[in-house]
């Protein structure tokens, strides 16, 4: 894995924390981070290509002060899976909604549990209930359902 090399993003004059995060992300990952928007004060949304999710999260934690992974949700649409990461910064009082998309026939994405330990169980939950495979997760096993279950109940084609 190549080392991430961006400077700590300094604030510019007249820039609010939301703009600073969006600018730092756009500058460091011009090809893979897109559609940055400020939804309301304290809430920012951006889309990220799934190939770069690990490096983006590494930069978010190490350089931009996002020390808390709040939630990982997986949503199934007709043509894709969306994996939504909510990542919070305690210092700058921000919540970042990072959306990553995978195709229906290949629901895999890199695990970020080595960055935030709190992601470990949440990734297992998404695997258990939605069937998203997190690559290089330390222990990707079912957590809420018994181990011998053959289905992923939150998929839309599962009908009880």
């Amino acid at each position: 894995m190549e080392a991430v090399s961006i400077e700590k993003a300094p604030s510019r004059i007249g820039e609010n924390p939301e703009q600073r995060v969006l600018r730092a992300l756009a500058e460091s990952f011009p090809k893979t981070v897109s559609d940055g928007a400020r939804l309301r004060p304290g809430l920012v949304r951006a889309k990220v290509d799934r190939s770069d999710i690990f490096r983006v999260c590494r930069v978010l934690k190490d350089n931009l002060g996002f020390e808390h992974l709040t939630m990982i949700s997986a949503v199934e649409y007709d043509d894709r899976f969306e994996i939504v990461y909510h990542i919070a910064s305690y210092q700058s009082k921000l919540l970042l909604e990072l959306i990553s998309t995978t195709p229906k026939d290949d629901p895999t994405v890199d695990s970020i549990s080595s960055i935030w330990g709190g992601a470990n169980w949440q990734e297992r939950e998404s695997y258990d209930l939605m069937g998203i495979v997190f690559r290089s997760h330390p222990k990707l096993e079912r957590i809420l359902l018994p181990k011998d279950v053959l289905y992923h109940p939150l998929r839309k084609d599962f009908k009880g």
């Binding site: 709040t70 330990g117 470990n120």
Partner: protein, 360 residues
């Protein structure tokens, strides 16, 4: 000595619900631990996909029997965000007041269970008796004692009942007197202190990394409370302190919750005092637009989040629930390793486990 795995649960008096803590011991010392959850999984997220938006409110009450009002409030808040519904100011004040009463009741139930765990039957009976005061108040307000079904999308179900202000102030006055007595009772007990002080150390870095939130995080020295730092509802109008301690042990977690009860009493008083007259409920649309809504509140156990995806119909396309204790309990191995088997009860009890929201 040979190491071995011991199952504490699913039917162990410590667990307060169905879950299993596997601990690996070397003699009396814990060398590894692994919580096993999922015994109470009811598929609430899947059930919600088949119900209309108002029908889900009573389901979200079932997430946690200890603080059901917080969860239905969180659900309504996230759906209001999705639908763009404005909530009348009076309803916001009623909600904040009710949530804080719920927080006191929830912490008292935790304290009762904790006292029972540590062998103080007196602590159990006292706190359960005083929890009754707030449960009675919430019954007068909502009509039920455990699962309230009170918030609505766009407000609350009914206005305050007659003389509710007077009764609430009396209850809060009574509670503040009782809290002093609890502090004397618990902190004056040598056994309670021996089983708490310096036990179950959770360092600040570990708490942050492992996603621990709520009182357990604040007991590890991170002053972060969503009511203060990302304020929602009418919390910006309220004057209160965020209870924080640096020690990170079981005693600090106990102390933070005690301090939170003091602060909650203050908030209930202020909410009653500042509550304006007016409507308490707005008409909400039947269908939600396509899009997403996000609610994020400070539950008695930590940071609770709901992420709701609408598709233009009257049912949510997806409802994702973040349970604070689900993430906190995954940090249990980090806290337990190195302590004795007899400390497990104090450490896990101090995290305030709630299986309903954990397994969903």
């Amino acid at each position: 000595m040979a190491e071995m795995w011991i199952n504490m649960g699913p039917q162990h008096p410590m667990t307060h619900g169905l879950w299993n803590l596997r601990v690996k011991v070397d003699g009396e010392t814990i060398v590894d631990a692994e919580p096993e959850v999922g015994y109470l999984h009811r598929g609430i997220e899947k059930i919600c996909e088949g119900l209309t938006y108002p029908q889900i409110i009573p389901i979200t009450d079932r997430l946690c029997y200890g603080s059901s009002l917080t969860w239905s409030h969180l659900y309504c808040q996230s759906v209001e965000d999705l639908m763009g519904v404005e909530v009348p100011e009076r309803a916001e004040y009623i909600r904040v007041m009710a949530i804080e009463m719920q927080r006191i009741a929830s912490h008292l139930m935790w304290l009762a269970a904790y006292a029972g765990d540590l062998g103080m039957s007196v602590g159990f009976t006292y706190t359960m008796r005083d929890r009754e005061v707030f449960v009675d108040l919430l019954q007068a307000l909502t009509g039920s004692r455990l699962t309230y079904n009170y918030p609505r999308i766009g407000g609350v179900a009914h206005d305050l009942p007659p003389n509710f202000d007077r009764d609430s102030i009396r209850a809060v006055d009574y509670m503040e007197g009782r809290l002093k007595e609890y502090e004397d009772l618990f902190e004056g007990s040598k056994i309670f202190m021996m089983r708490n002080v310096g036990i179950g150390l959770l360092r600040k870095e570990d708490a942050l990394n492992l996603g621990v939130t709520g009182p357990s995080l604040r007991a590890s020295g991170v002053s972060y409370d969503l009511r203060k730092d990302m304020p929602y509802s009418v919390y910006p109008e309220m004057d209160f302190e965020v209870a924080t301690l640096d020690d990170g042990d079981c005693y600090a977690r106990y102390r933070v919750r005690m301090d939170e009860m003091w602060e909650s009493c203050k908030i209930v008083r202020q909410a009653l005092q500042k509550m304006p007259k007016g409507r308490w409920r707005m008409v909400s649309p039947r269908n939600a637009p396509a899009g997403t809504g996000l609610g994020r509140v400070e539950d008695p156990r930590g940071e609770a989040v709901m992420y709701v995806v609408g598709d233009g119909s009257d049912k949510p396309y997806r409802l994702k629930i973040r349970s604070p204790i689900f993430v906190t309990v995954s940090a249990a191995p980090k806290i337990l390793v190195g302590y004795k088997l007899a400390d497990v009860v104090a450490i896990m009890g101090g995290l305030d486990m709630c299986i309903g929201e954990n397994d969903r």
